[in-house]
Symmetry: C2
Subunit: 335 residues, 2 copies
């Protein structure tokens, strides 16, 4: 019997990197696009600006840029990777997955390095991280790359300000190594498919097909969100979920040093901050200027926590968020 | 030090189930659809019939049916599941993922059972299985459901017989339990993104968007495959891949009792059979009447190997195949 459970096996984050698209959309432009009164995007939604990919920019291109930045940060040669996991919210194209497209852009297209994708919409990074840490614990891998990359702006409906101004595009990459100072103390995910319809993008898969009625298809190719229903479905479950996660980690709420959340919305972040002691000071909040980057938000926030030195050795970090599904997810680390 | 490496931790397949759509398309109809001379679909491609989903049938519906059959087979109550993993080749819709849609259809929409997706196109079942076995080895889960469900017929271009007549629709589900007689001896995946373009479905994600030119979008919403290039990219790498996998498992090629392959094409299956001693007798081949069901083929073939009694205790099973990416993947088991 091991004294230390295998899920506590140490790991290191060897490098992180992000890619932000060049194009910035200011709040005034978002006011105009969404037909709101001047100042509404900021006053109603806490949005100062957004970043959108250019029409010819792709998720794999942004993801590869983020991965290169992470490789530079770590001082690693990409050929030494044991696995590449795409942890995106939406795909660049249905076949093949984004991970192999990123692999190719990294010059690894002939390498044989396994590349596949894990999808839990905005929370994709968390099950990807679980898979990597399990692979480390089992001795399958020593070095892993997780890349999240999303182009939310491809499917926004500006007739609905709430379902559009929240989102930005971008990519974030995290390089992980088996062995090292960090320990995952607990990880948890809870899905509630009964709320699958309150936050969805219907067209793009096999269910909604382009037929005679092009306008109907186009309408379903836009992201739809009933913000009130999402909040209702998540907020009532969130306190119990958080308490269970911290309990599983053996960490009291006031011992959480840094909160690294998905950047769902200003309201969701405010709700989270109030749920934790000293939450406003402890939470990475990039919502105003970076926004909800779908699955990229979590690793982007982790990157920020790391490069700003907010996460120091021995501290407790909490990654947490909600996603379409709906799902709640989180993980607790000792740094 | 453990005498038995953790990846050899035992597991059981407690139940399996499939769903086949009602609609059958005979070879003569495929000849007509693809503009080929009578008999060509069978003589050129070894296809006797295909199964296609109805226009209103969905992946999650088929997946839930397969899951119910597996639950009946196992005698399990769905509420006892620890995790649901969608291992589909293409998504039902971009947001949310297919796993939560299946969760909802199983009446588990309020259960909180975590549901997420793993995607490696036709090989998705293998990384999903890896994730489950890692979860078992780490004590994270005791009972897991993996469901593959795909509707290939949503994106076929009948102007290209080779890229259309190969495919069928359907779903397959596998219930796994920690502890039990089966052992995974080795698992391996190799991806080559340099061949990403030879087998792809371009439209449906964020890269190709519905704009003014509807016809251009529609053309890219069809599956494209350069069969010769796929064969070239996979066949030259396959012998080394297979040898490495068997070597990692410590199994000689003539000790493989049952080969459970992805049903890519008649030519691919023939190539595989010739690569293994007595391969023709040992290989599960459903290509003529069931066809390439994208990610569903692997768990469907596993279901057949199991319910027909071809896999007996102590025997060696080899799951193997190739996928868009391109990727090669395989796993070796002692049953």
């Amino acid at each position: 019997v091991n004294a230390r459970p295998p899920q506590s096996t140490g790991f290191a984050i060897a490098g992180t990197g992000i890619h932000m698209p060049q194009r910035r959309i200011c709040a005034a432009e978002l006011d105009r696009l969404t037909g709101q009164a001047e100042g509404s995007t900021t006053s109603r939604f806490g949005v100062v600006q957004r970043h959108w990919a250019a029409a010819d920019e792709t998720s794999s291109e942004m993801g590869a840029n983020a991965a290169r930045a992470a490789l530079d940060d770590a001082g690693w040669d990409a050929t030494g990777l044991d696995v590449i996991i795409g942890a995106c919210g939406v795909m660049e194209q249905p076949i093949p997955g984004t991970a192999v497209l990123i692999q190719r852009r990294l010059g690894l297209g002939g390498s044989g390095i396994p590349a596949f994708d894990i999808n839990a919409t905005c929370l994709s990074f968390l099950p990807a991280l679980d898979r990597v840490l399990a692979g480390f614990a089992l001795g399958e891998w020593q070095r892993a790359l997780i890349v999240s990359a999303d182009i939310a702006s491809a499917a926004l409906d500006f007739a609905d300000p709430e379902a559009s101004v929240l989102f930005s595009d971008g990519a974030a990459a995290v390089l992980l190594e088996a062995g090292g100072p960090h320990r995952r103390l607990a990880s948890r995910m809870a899905s509630y498919g009964e709320a699958a319809d309150v936050c969805q993008l219907a067209a793009g898969g096999t269910r909604v097909r382009l037929g005679e009625d092009v306008a109907a298809f186009a309408a379903q190719a836009k992201f739809r969100m009933d913000g009130r229903a999402v909040f209702k479905a998540t907020s009532r479950r969130f306190p119990g979920f958080l308490a269970g996660l911290l309990d599983a980690a053996g960490v009291a709420a006031d011992h959480v040093d840094v909160v690294i959340p998905h950047q769902a919305s200003a309201a969701a972040l405010e709700h989270l901050k109030r749920a934790l002691p000293d939450g406003h000071a402890r939470t990475i909040d990039q919502f105003a200027s970076i926004g909800n980057q779908i699955a990229t938000s979590l690793p982007h926030a982790l990157h920020v926590a790391r490069i700003t030195g907010r996460l120091r050795p021995g501290q407790i970090g909490l990654m947490i968020g909600s996603a379409a599904g709906i799902s709640l997810g989180g993980a607790v680390f000792r740094w």
